[in-house]
Symmetry: C2
Subunit: 331 residues, 2 copies
């Protein structure tokens, strides 16, 4: 815990920055979605930043890191706060550093398919900029709309990946970081693929990201599919079969009959009370998926272009979003 | 063996078609590259078609199949003859059906990335048509320049695939076939993904392809790389590491030091007498490949765009082409 005197000095030093020192925003920016867990809720309920700094550029991040170091005030960086485990909760108060205003695309190499962007860029917004150039982010969580690039890499994602690209931590999915260190004279480090592995999914505890370099994937006209299956065993076997085939499938999730029956409806689909596979697949995979499903007594009951995203997305029924949908009905 | 009388009747019936009945072309079109094997050379040396029919369209294929059935004359379809195992050798003479003049692209769906083309299309020529639209064939053998689509699927490929898409036989890599059956009234069947699995790599023995439907991959600016390694164990370990990472790698081959020293030179590269990994990788993979190689004491000694293909290609040092290169020096 920082002393009141230290905090006062720090605030004075940073008063040219965009600060939040009171009110509901201070509370909100001290939290993520840890409310999913009654245990974490009890633990984190009273954790609150003394001040939130909304950095607008790398130089401001350097100023904040230097001031925190000088005055012995804890610094907790945050992204969009879509995590479920308190990754951005300031356990000992102090400064929360919000980088959501840092949204520049620093560089896009449209030949190599490599993007360098600031940590506050939201994933879907990046994809909106990439799509006209034929590229897309490789990995997108169920919080595609709201998650930030920095938060996704630093700790927002517990590791959900794609069937094509594996997990975020697999070598090759993060090519570089620009990082501000926490020391008397903070350094701005440019880290390559190997050097940045130790900072991937480390919650910003060993450096604050000010730029992230990731490889892209060629954009595809991904299709959202719901495959209704006669029973659980069939669904799981079909899932194994699909993922072992030479099909372009981005993601696959299984929801049992009871969960499916309680999900909010996708447009034009009466949600089946049957075990279902939820798939995001390339158009060229559809004929084979249809045949393999039919051979299992399953059938496709929903198909829609994922792009442009509108309304409820298929991926928003998956992973931790399944829990979120249930909580919206029954908190 | 067909009787002379049967053959005479057949020739009379087909005399409106493009026929080869004598000369070096008859010999050439009765062979593939079985000469790699002294055993197969002895077996196939005297096998020769009585007539080669160069079909120009599906209707001509139907006429040939009907005539062969009617007169009891064996029918052997062939592609470019790049196989090494006599797949297109007419063991009992009769008709060799050459589909190399059937080169129409029937349909390209540029959104889904699905191509339907006639069997005589050469793979590289297809890629030349696909590339401006941002697509490419998924799988290309070392005979990319000369192999035909029909021959590649029917039997030219012994199964070389890509690290991304697996083997030709993996469900999803062949979406459809148009096939002429061998019976009194030959049928023209349109087969979907599941139905055509039994004809994939069956040498045309259960039907003559007149169109092939395959899924495509987004085009990438693939890089040809040669990684020189300090020793064999390092090379193999690095190969394992690269293929287990989230890197876009199309193909990887290992050549030991002696083989590398005997390969023809790639432009600007003095071929190293060291164990080497030969890689075809996407630009976004280069930084990680470079770092992993350096950490193993290996280094990249050659890098070139694969597209547009010119001169000796990296893939032409791999798979059965390694043998071919050695035979060119020492038959």
């Amino acid at each position: 815990m920082s002393s009141a005197a230290s905090l006062a000095l720090l605030l004075q030093e940073l008063d040219h920055l965009d600060l939040v020192t009171a009110g509901p925003q201070l509370q909100q920016l001290s939290q993520d979605q840890f409310g999913f867990s009654p245990l974490l809720s009890a633990l984190f309920h009273d954790c609150r930043a003394d001040v939130v700094v909304r950095a607008r550029c790398r130089e401001e991040v350097v100023s904040v890191a230097a001031a925190c170091h000088r005055h012995g005030v804890p610094l907790t960086p945050r992204g969009s706060g879509t995590g479920n485990y308190g990754q951005c909760v300031p356990l000992q108060g102090g400064v929360v550093l919000d980088t959501s205003a840092m949204t520049a695309v620093r560089h896009l190499d449209p030949v190599a398919g490599v993007l360098t962007a600031e940590p506050g860029c939201r994933l879907l917004e990046l994809d909106r900029q990439l799509q006209p150039q034929g590229w897309a982010l490789r990995l997108a969580p169920s919080t595609w709309r709201t998650a930030s690039l920095g938060g996704f890499i630093a700790g927002g994602s517990s590791g959900v990946g794609s069937l094509r690209w594996g997990l975020l931590r697999d070598p090759g999915n993060l090519l570089g970081l620009e990082v501000v260190t926490m020391e008397a004279q903070p350094q701005v480090l440019q880290l390559g693929p190997e050097a940045c592995r130790g900072l991937n999914h480390a919650y910003g505890t060993n450096g604050v990201f000010t730029a992230v370099t990731v490889p892209l994937a060629p954009w595809q006209n991904w299709q959202e599919l719901v495959i209704s299956c006669p029973n659980q065993a069939t669904a799981l076997a079909l899932g194994e079969q699909l993922t072992a085939s030479a099909l372009e499938i981005d993601g696959l999730a299984y929801l049992d009959a009871e969960l499916m029956g309680r999900m909010p409806p996708l447009p034009g689909l009466e949600m089946p009370s049957a075990p279902c596979l939820l798939l995001i697949a390339a158009p060229a995979a559809l004929a084979v998926i249809g045949e393999l499903a039919a051979a299992s007594g399953a059938h496709c009951c929903f198909q829609r272009d994922q792009w442009p995203p509108s309304g409820l997305l298929l991926r928003e029924l998956c992973w931790n979003h399944t829990t979120l949908q249930l909580r919206l009905q029954d908190p």
